[in-house]
């Protein structure tokens, strides 16, 4: 359990763009109840904006025709839903068993030194955010890092250095 109760109010209205709107309408037909669209709609929002604001949650509730509390419940329970903006490059390092056994800490320490942020933080210029996450299901090629959702396997400090170099 982690505390994810804080929502950010932007003061700006939210709506799906045309592409997400069409995808919402396609998906809603696949379920017998509209509440099943809560997770898919949260994903569509995150794809569009990178994170999910209080206004976006209200929009989703309205769009589905359900209570705002139900959307809030799901958004705060599932840890992959970002409740605040992340860095331009969002780096997730797996911290669980097999990655831990194969020295994921060296990568975390390197990133802390190189970018100057600890897990859970965003760099001041907004370029990088770092997170330690639970098992990513790539234990046979541990340690594993996800950069903006893309998997990078059999990582070490040298490979991490090379990966960062491609971003500069």
């Amino acid at each position: 359990m982690s505390d994810r109760s804080e929502l950010i109010i932007t003061g700006k209205p939210f709506a799906f763009d045309a592409e997400r709107d069409a995808e919402f309408e396609r998906l809603v037909k696949r379920y017998p109840i509209r509440e099943s669209m809560i997770l898919p709609a949260l994903w569509l929002t995150q794809e569009q904006e990178g994170w999910i604001s209080a206004e976006a949650m209200a929009y989703i509730a309205d769009r589905i025709g359900t209570y705002a509390s139900k959307v809030y419940e799901a958004a705060t329970f599932y840890t992959m839903f970002n409740l605040e903006p992340k860095g331009q490059y969002h780096i997730c390092v797996c911290r669980t068993l097999s990655c831990w056994l194969r020295e994921k800490q060296e990568i975390v320490d390197y990133l802390a030194k190189e970018i100057g942020i600890r897990p859970g933080e965003i760099s001041e210029d907004g370029r990088f955010s770092l997170e330690e996450v639970e098992c990513l299901g790539h234990c046979g090629t541990a340690p594993v890092v996800q950069l903006n959702g893309e998997f990078h396997e059999e990582m070490d400090v040298d490979k991490m250095k090379a990966l960062l170099a491609t971003l500069k």
């Binding site: 359990m1 982690s2 998906l27 696949r30 379920y31 017998p32 109840i33 509440e35 099943s36 669209m37 809560i38 997770l39 898919p40 949260l42 994903w43 359900t66 139900k70 419940e73 799901a74 329970f77 599932y78 840890t79 992959m80 839903f81 911290r95 669980t96 068993l97 097999s98 831990w100 056994l101 194969r102 996450v133 639970e134 098992c135 990513l136 299901g137 790539h138 234990c139 046979g140 090629t141 541990a142 996800q146 959702g149 893309e150 998997f151």
Partner: protein, 426 residues
């Protein structure tokens, strides 16, 4: 030792594309399938002895048999692709390298159980995997293998991918259903079991990806071809994931029943860096650890694992070398399960947090022998007192480390250092 049943097309380039998969036999069982009575399909699966490959090992055909008849409600199939148990990484190979084998298996299962609506629940972290899977589904729809008339038959199968968003507990089948219904993933009390009252209060079968993907082989070749592999009680093959301290970690398809040490040495290249073995986690992080002596006598099947007081689980084998500090490993495990507790049951939500605090205290050199006993006592008091088995997934392994490597915990409690440091006189 390796065999190629499920992984037959894994090494073929672009086998995730329908055109390539079809050249190598994808969807070729459908003619035979539609000529069979649904009950005969279930019977064939029962005879194959195929067991649930998600971790519980429940016979698949028997599970299907629990569906009530003539309820007037639709029957749903939920394919469990949550794959979140640490050390488990087999299903994603199916999703990415042979997704049409999964879709063909889904059609077979639907025919057998009389189901038209399927949800594949895939963990949110599988970003690239979900794209490949969706592409395969789109191709299958376009080619008429999914949709209103599957392969020209008067039989509808619709498949929808539902993405999770980072909750381990959603691999538990009723939490998975809650998640599809748009709720937080908190497991339901059972009974009623999902086969009777599952998704949208309707009869529902939940099967693991690998279980479903095993169906095309069984139906094409008959149950005898499947039971020719493995042992009498644990027939077939399994996609084993070997990780941790070995020279060649990876996913290997093996028949069940092989000696664990032979697999570690011959398939996975042995313990890495020429180091000595300390222990083996046999089937995902929630399974009790085996000592070196136990590892020498166990075989990779459900019965031998049970005889060694551990579990076959998901087939995720983790090799631990002599440098592993069991107290630090236990801290890593408790951190995971505490983080993933859904918060519904007090013994899990608070108990795992308590265990975490005690372990941290020991590692900080501030623990006592009473703390070691308390940690052990908590395991007994938390287990089986919660709605689902997430808490037990933590206490079962932790208890095994406390019982088999107790001296390492005591070293922190008595000398405030690790057992290794104590040995070296530091």
């Amino acid at each position: 030792m390796e065999v190629k049943i499920l992984s037959e097309k894994f090494d073929i380039e672009n086998a995730h594309l329908l055109e390539v998969a079809k050249k190598h036999g994808a969807y070729s069982t459908l003619d035979k399938l539609f000529a069979m009575e649904p009950a005969a399909v279930t019977e064939e699966v029962k005879k194959s002895g195929l067991r649930g490959r998600g971790g519980a090992g429940f016979p698949a055909g028997v599970k299907w048999g629990f569906l009530p008849k003539d309820t007037g409600k639709p029957t749903y199939l939920a394919v469990n692709s949550d794959e979140s148990e640490p050390a488990t990484f087999k299903d994603r190979y199916i999703l990415v390298r042979d997704p049409h084998m999964l879709l063909e298996g889904i059609i077979i299962c639907c025919w057998a159980i009389g189901c038209n609506d399927v949800y594949i629940y895939i963990r949110g972290e599988y970003t690239t995997q979900v794209k490949v899977l969706q592409q395969a589904i789109d191709e299958a729809y376009a080619a008429g293998y999914l949709g209103d008339k599957v392969a020209g038959q008067d039989f509808r199968v619709d498949v929808t991918v539902h993405r999770g968003a980072g909750a381990y507990v959603c691999g538990e089948e009723t939490a998975l259903l809650e998640s599809i219904e748009g709720k937080k993933g908190q497991p339901r009390s059972k009974p009623p079991f999902p086969a009777v009252e599952g998704l949208y209060s309707s009869p529902t079968i939940i099967n693991n990806v690998q279980t479903i993907a095993s169906l095309p082989f069984i139906l094409t070749n008959g149950h005898e071809a499947y039971t020719a592999y493995g042992t009498e009680k644990s027939p077939g093959t399994h996609l084993f994931g070997i990780s941790g301290h070995v020279e060649k970690p990876g996913m290997y398809e093996l028949p069940l029943g092989l000696p664990l040490m032979e697999v570690i040495d011959k398939v996975a290249g042995g313990v890495w860096k020429g180091r000595k073995l300390k222990g083996v986690i046999p089937g995902g992080s929630s399974t009790p650890v085996l000592t070196v002596e136990e590892a020498k006598t166990v075989t990779l099947d459900y019965e031998s694992m049970a005889a060694h007081k551990t579990m076959f689980g998901s087939g995720g084998i983790v090799v631990l070398d002599e440098t592993v500090d069991c107290v630090k490993l236990v801290e890593n495990l408790i951190n995971f399960y505490h983080h993933e507790s859904c918060g519904q049951c007090t013994p899990c939500r608070e108990g795992l947090g308590w265990m975490k605090k005690i372990t941290k205290k020991l590692l900080a050199g501030q623990g006592t022998l009473a703390d070691v006993d308390l940690l052990r006592e908590l395991c007994d008091n938390i287990e089986m007192k919660t709605v689902c088995v997430l808490s037990a997934a933590c206490t079962m392994p932790v208890r095994s480390y406390l019982d088999k490597f107790r001296h390492e915990f005591e070293a922190y409690a008595i000398d405030n250092v690790s057992a290794d440091a104590k040995l070296q006189g530091n």
